[in-house]
Amino acid sequence: MTNTHTGTVLADQGSADAHRPAAVSVQKLSKRFGAGPFAITALDAVEIDIDQNEFFTLLGPSGCGKTTLLRLIAGFELPSSGTIALQGEDITALPPHRRPVNTVFQSYALFPHMTVAENIGFGLRMLGKSKAEIGTVTERMLALVQLEALAGRRTDQLSGGQQQRVALARALAPAPRVLLLDEPLAALDLKLRKSMQLELKSLQAETGITFIFVTHDQEEALTMSDRIAVMKAGRILQVGNPRQIYDRPEHRFVADFIGDINILEATVLEARDGVATVRLKDGTKVSAGTAAGAAPTGEVAIAIRPENLRLAGEGESATITGTLENLVYFGAASNLHLRLPTGEDLVVRVPGTFAEGRYTPGASLGVSFQPELTRVLA
């Protein structure tokens, strides 16, 4: 049995995993700016545990506190209350230069009076590494971000995408335990952004460093992340992997912020084992999934994505019937805008060619809801 040995090692690692502290653990973290009646609460008792080697994204609109949270982890701001621990070690009071985390800034913040190589080697230089080691690591980083040819350039002679890579290499060079990325792709054009998204993701897998990524771009978050925390007004509303966040939103805000979604008012009739029966405003009964452990009652909202709705064929039973108001074609798909008897609007997405010439405004269309893709929102 040659596998026995490997098996034991894996088992050991498994048990070690269970006891290994989170890469970053944030407890009851609050940050208020200003004092008295003008105080602004940027973060309100936030709690998260970010695992080792995880690509973790903080997602939310501007002003939701995601950048503040990142700056608190980096040490540029001190929290009003709460603690931050790095692999079990409390770093709440440490100044930024004593935290083994590095940041990729939104503006890159490259040092304009230094070359690309000097920028990348700066962190190691500050750590007192030998010239030889700085040289070796800088070479490796330059190769990693494919900038070998530009080592001696000044940073203002680089394109935006190249500057972005230098910023990334500079932050990775000291091999931080956690890499913080503050909307690093925001300044790039769409095409470059798309390719950098994939590159960042593979870079994270390659280096095994925990990434904490801040963005307001939901698509970016879904593409890259292992887990996403959706934030609003200084609080974390929901944490989950991209599928959970997209398919099973628990809050109206999360549902609305990520992708397109239909939200209908409803009243709960019965809720049991993660499934609720609700009544829409016109009396239609619909089944919908609920958040784990939640037992909603009374007035709620249900959410269903346009692509998860199906038009009922001839003779099929429909959940609800609406009047076609508008048809919007956008290449890969078309959106059918229906007016429901409840007075609410419902958008149904159908493949692009499917809708062509088939429907005319004013037509009555049956739509069926799939209970497993319909969610009750808190």
């Binding site: 230069h97 590095n102 940041t103 800034f105 040092f111 009076h113 500050m126 000044r154 203002d156």
Partner: protein, 278 residues
């Protein structure tokens, strides 16, 4: 085309091209003449082979030779440079600290007032500052009995501060705090972040401030006139005294040298800034 082309004024206005406006050239020349004609006259007559500063006869370098051989002028120039160097160093260091304190900290109440206080010498008539400084120094001298060139140096250092402060602060305001944060993030202690990031980036501002302070000190008449003790004659004071005895092309020659030094400094400043701001 049949409508006819609009008047040139309108065309220039539409193109938003000021240079095409009628009278632009005349106005530009007027400004240049007003600024440089006096200097041109001064410089031309410094090469005049004649005692007159209004009647040209022949080209000559005699007055330069005379000026350079004149002990009075040489001593005055030496005193001027000594005082200016001292004032430059002190005022630039103080101004750099003041600029850091007023821009590298979180905004505080009364920040505008602080700017005003630092810029005091720019707002109060120089003659008032001169008399005030004189009174203070007279008091100190009476109380301590200490005399010497130190008083004049201190006076110069003080009124040079705002001139050094302005370009340094202007430079700091264009530098975001993110640079220092990036340095701290990359394990630089506050001292190292300052020495390796803030100071080099601030360089052009400090050099501008220092040069401005140097020129202002070199140029000062009023405060120097009142504060300077015996034997502390600076170049401007010497020139002023010489003129009272009758203006000669020798004064023109000295003044021309001063102009040349100033121009040289400005050109140097330009190149230093361009090099460092790349």
């Amino acid at each position: 085309m049949t409508e006819g082309s609009p008047a040139p004024v309108l065309r220039a206005f539409r193109r938003r091209d000021l240079r095409a406006m009628p009278g632009f050239k005349a106005m530009a020349w007027l400004c240049i003449i007003a600024l440089y004609m006096p200097l041109a006259v001064l410089i031309i007559f410094s090469f005049n082979d004649n005692r007159s500063v209004v009647r040209w006869t022949e080209f000559s370098l005699d007055w330069y030779a005379k000026a350079l051989a004149n002990d009075g002028i040489r001593n005055a120039a030496l005193v001027s440079v000594k005082i200016a160097l001292f004032a430059t160093v002190i005022s630039t260091v103080v101004a750099t600290m003041a600029a850091l304190a007023t821009t590298r900290t979180r905004g505080f109440r009364g920040q505008g007032l602080v700017y005003g206080i630092i810029n005091q010498p720019l707002m109060i008539p120089e003659i008032v500052t001169a008399i005030a400084t004189l009174s203070l120094f007279a008091l100190i001298k009476r109380l301590t009995g200490v005399t010497g060139v130190g008083y004049l140096m201190m006076a110069h250092a003080a009124f040079c501060i705002p001139f050094a402060y302005m370009p340094i602060r202007a430079r700091l305001e264009t530098m975001t705090l993110t640079m220092e944060q990036a340095a701290a993030d990359l394990y630089a202690t506050p001292l190292k972040a300052f020495a390796l990031i803030t100071l080099p980036l601030l360089g052009p501002g400090i050099v501008s401030g220092a040069m401005l302070a140097f020129v202002v000190s070199l140029d000062d008449v009023i405060i120097t006139l009142l504060v300077a003790g015996p034997g502390e004659t600076t170049l401007p004071i010497y020139i002023l005294g010489a003129i009272r005895r009758g203006i000669t092309p020798e004064i023109n020659a000295v003044s021309t040298i001063l102009v040349a030094v100033s121009v040289l400094l400005v050109v140097l400043l330009f190149f230093v800034q361009r090099r460092m701001q790349r």
